[in-house]
């Protein structure tokens, strides 16, 4: 158990850090585009997120890599912090808290990869 902790801690911290950096650099722009600008018709053309446009974006190698990185790393970043939040809230049994948080992130990552493979 202790050996396992020593093995995965740097990996989980690394995913947390890369996800945090990605969300700091691109998160606000992404939220603005997908959740504010496109729905309200600000700045961007109306068909920015149309089905053909998004399909073409996802089917490009760079688009696929970007979408996979954003979704999976955001999930790993959130899982790290959510685990700490639950620990700080006094929920006992870090073993189960850790499993719960990281299995959601891992599951989301696998689903994302499969969907991107299906679309390619």
């Amino acid at each position: 158990m202790r050996t396992h902790e020593c093995f995965d801690a740097p990996i989980l911290s690394g995913l947390f850090c890369v996800g945090g950096m990605l969300s700091a650099l691109f998160g606000p722009a992404l939220v603005f585009v997908t959740g504010v600008a496109v729905p309200l018709g600000l700045l961007l053309p109306e068909d920015t997120m149309s089905y053909p446009n998004m399909l073409a974006f996802i089917q490009s190698g760079l688009g696929r890599a970007f979408v996979f990185s954003v979704i999976s790393l955001f999930l790993w970043h959130a899982a790290y912090r959510f685990r700490r939040l639950l620990n700080d809230a006094g929920i006992s049994g870090d073993f189960w808290v850790k499993r719960f948080c990281y299995r959601i992130a891992g599951g989301g990552t696998v689903v994302c990869a499969l969907l991107l493979l299906q679309l390619s």
């Binding site: 700091a24 959740g35 504010v36 053309p45 959130a78």
Partner: protein, 136 residues
């Protein structure tokens, strides 16, 4: 994780450290709560990806959901939290990173935060410009 980045580390000594430790814990609690918005946003994108695989009608349904006032409101709150996250991320980074030297001089934490904010601004505006150019 370095000690400087560990929100749960015990305070060093004295009452001043105790209050600073408490303030740090509150800030870290806010960081951790903000991560919920990062999670919900990532899940929103994942649902969008699922809808994209299901065809044009499903995708348009997801887009229509993004147009609802509830969704726009949620994204506006998320946007403010993501913007706060930029500052807090680089502030914590400035404390946690080993000294960074540029031209032989160690960068101050304020300088690291400022450079981080400028980088984030360039990355964000650059991404929006790229999307705008691709969609135009």
């Amino acid at each position: 994780m370095s000690r400087a980045n560990d929100c749960r580390r015990p305070t060093q000594d004295g009452q001043k450290d105790l209050s600073e430790g408490l303030s740090l814990r509150i800030r870290c609690g806010l960081h951790d709560t903000a991560a919920l918005f990062v999670f919900v946003y990532a899940m929103t994108l994942l649902v969008g990806l699922i809808r994209l695989t299901q065809g044009e009608a499903a995708w348009n349904g997801w887009l229509a959901a993004l147009h609802t006032p509830f969704s726009v409101g949620f994204h506006l709150i998320s946007l403010s939290i993501f913007l706060w996250h930029i500052h807090s991320w680089f502030s914590v980074g400035a404390r946690a990173l080993p000294p960074i030297r540029l031209h032989g001089k160690a960068l101050s934490p304020a300088s690291i935060v400022m450079r981080g904010l400028v980088t984030a601004l360039v990355a964000g505006v650059g991404l929006i410009a790229l999307i705008w150019r691709a969609a135009a």
